[in-house]
């Protein structure tokens, strides 16, 4: 797994993709931080993370659009599938590489915390909780994008399907707050990642949502493993 992880991380930073993701993410976060905190005078990052969770579906597909498409186009995928690497190792290596890039980007936003610390009295526990929650949310989004990318034969299809899947999850969160239809409301609540994330923004750190995010990610990674394994039999 580490072979794939290392190769993917190297690819992110030797091509524009990693920098595009970081650039877009930091641009949006910078705008939101400026609006909510520097201009608006907010003393925490709840506004930034709250808004970010609802617009991040536009950014995360960038991480995964080339995850499988390039190797399929270049004829490398069959070699990987018949190498000593297992399908699980391939999927996890790629997934953790994408999460690593996301984590590095989040670390860069630590400069906002430094600014808040210098000019205010931020509640650090809540901020740390928000960061952990947002990382778990992002990791869950990345797992969905990994699965949809594993189904796609080209980058465009991977991007569109990832975007669509994440829009669906964000909309599920929005509808779950307003709909009162039995069964459907429960299903939407289960899919509403952003709703589970709300607790972190409010400074509540419970094991339940953490386990939920990990389980959600694991489910979609399992689907990705099955999807990739089936390509061997094409």
């Amino acid at each position: 797994m580490y072979i794939i992880f290392r190769k993917e991380v190297s690819a992110y930073f030797s091509t524009p993709f990693g920098f595009i993701f970081m650039g877009i993410f930091l641009l949006f976060s910078g705008i939101i931080f400026t609006t909510y905190n520097l201009v608006g005078g907010g003393g925490d990052l709840n506004g930034m993370f709250g808004l970010f969770s609802n617009i991040s579906f536009m950014i995360f597909p960038v991480l995964t659009i080339k995850m499988f498409a390039d190797e399929r186009r270049n004829g490398i995928e069959p070699i990987l599938l018949t190498s000593r690497l297992t399908t699980v190792q391939i999927i996890l290596g790629k997934y953790f590489a994408a999460c690593f890039l996301f984590l590095v980007t989040l670390v860069v936003t630590g400069v906002y915390v430094v600014i808040l610390k210098i000019y205010g009295f931020p509640y650090m526990s809540a901020i740390i909780g928000s960061y952990i929650g947002f990382f778990l949310l992002g990791a869950a989004f990345i797992s969905v994008c990994t699965f949809t990318a594993s189904l796609a034969d080209n980058s465009v299809t991977a991007a569109v399907s990832s975007f669509g899947a994440l829009v669906g999850l964000v909309m599920a969160g929005a509808f779950s707050r307003t709909l009162e239809i039995p069964v459907l409301s429960q299903i939407l609540s289960a899919l509403a990642l952003t709703r589970q994330y709300d607790e972190f923004i409010r400074g509540i750190f419970r094991p339940g949502p953490v386990v939920y995010f990990i389980g959600f990610s694991a489910f979609f990674l399992c689907l990705a493993v099955v999807s990739l394994g089936r390509r061997r039999f094409a």
């Binding site: 072979i3 190769k7 190297s10 690819a11 030797s14 091509t15 390039d70 270049n74 004829g75 490398i76 069959p78 070699i79 990987l80 018949t82 190498s83 000593r84 690497l85 061997r232 039999f233 094409a234």
Partner: protein, 309 residues
């Protein structure tokens, strides 16, 4: 070394490869010829465990390639028609990556890769990004990837396509040298290239293996001919196969004739007129008229054109 039995591949209900049988001994260099769409690449991908057959079996070095694809893939170095490259990696990093996933121990890995880079003459470009290399160099990098671990079997799918004459000469010389120490299966349209490198030829057309023999045997005068007979295909094939001196009887396409009760075969046997005379007498005794008998030309090109009509 390699045993293929009743190998078939269907894309939906469309046949790609049908009932192909052949075996390749250790150290042999075999050429796989055929027109576009004949099924060559499909056969090679199935041999390299990169595609699952619809039916049949493949055994490589005693390993069932369908049940144990990873084990059999370790015995094979495969260079597809389009080399599997990471354009944004440099040559050295690319080969390091493939050496790792192929399980080359880290202790001797650098020396192993250096040896392969020298064999394929890519040492001077090892630090360059693959996307900046010429087609010839990319082909050689792909070949270097196939050589990692020095697998006993090399499968090369049209390794010289798109190269300039100088690059073609260099790659052919390299393959000929590799054929001395590896079992090589080479797919190509270029008959002279196959003749230069390979000792045995398999000709594929319409998904079927229609001819297999040693190059020198194929080019012997009068050994191969096509025959068109009025009669049932199975009956005629059985009779022809039983004639002494006949080595191989392969059905050939006869789309216009089949509906009218004719069948066409490619026959390989002993050189000379005696065989044709024996066939004539046998078919006449069975009341099966010969309507056409055409001796194939001596050159590989003539034979190829004749059997792939």
């Amino acid at each position: 070394m390699i045993e293929v039995k009743e190998l078939s591949k269907y894309y939906g209900d469309k046949p790609g490869v049908m009932n192909v049988n052949f075996s390749i001994d250790s150290g042999e260099a075999v050429g796989l010829l055929g027109p576009n769409g004949a099924g060559k690449t499909t056969i090679l991908k199935m041999l390299a465990s990169q595609m699952l057959p619809s039916a049949g079996s493949i055994t490589i070095e005693g390993i069932d390639a369908i049940i144990n694809p990873k084990e059999s893939a370790r015995c094979i170095g495969f260079l597809p028609e389009i080399p599997p490259l990471y354009p944004d990696m440099d040559v050295n990093s690319y080969l390091q990556f493939f050496a790792e996933i192929k399980g080359i121990e880290s202790k001797g890995r650098a020396a192993h890769l250096n040896e392969i880079m020298e064999m394929t003459s890519i040492v001077d470009v090892k630090g360059r990004l693959i996307k900046n290399l010429s087609k010839g160099y990319r082909q050689r990098v792909g070949l270097a990837q196939a050589l990692i671990g020095f697998p006993p079997v090399l499968i090369l799918d049209e390794p010289t396509v798109g190269l300039d004459p100088k690059q073609i000469t260099e790659v052919r010389s390299l393959i000929k040298k590799l054929a001395q120490e590896h079992t090589v299966i080479l797919s190509s349209h270029i008959l002279s290239e196959v003749k230069m490198i390979c000792s045995r030829i398999l000709i594929v057309n319409g998904g079927r293996l229609i001819l297999q023999d040693r190059v020198e045997n194929l080019e012997k005068s009068g050994r191969s001919f096509t025959i068109r007979v009025k009669g049932g295909r199975r009956q005629v094939k059985k009779i022809l196969s039983a004639v002494p001196g006949v080595r191989e009887v392969t059905p050939a396409d006869d789309p216009a004739g089949e509906s009218a009760g004719y069948c066409r075969f490619l026959v390989i046997g002993e050189a000379g007129d005696a065989l044709r005379e024996a066939i004539f007498r046998k078919l006449a005794s069975e009341n099966l008229p010969i309507v056409e008998l055409h001796t194939m030309g001596n050159s590989l090109e003539d034979i190829f054109l004749e059997v792939t009509v």
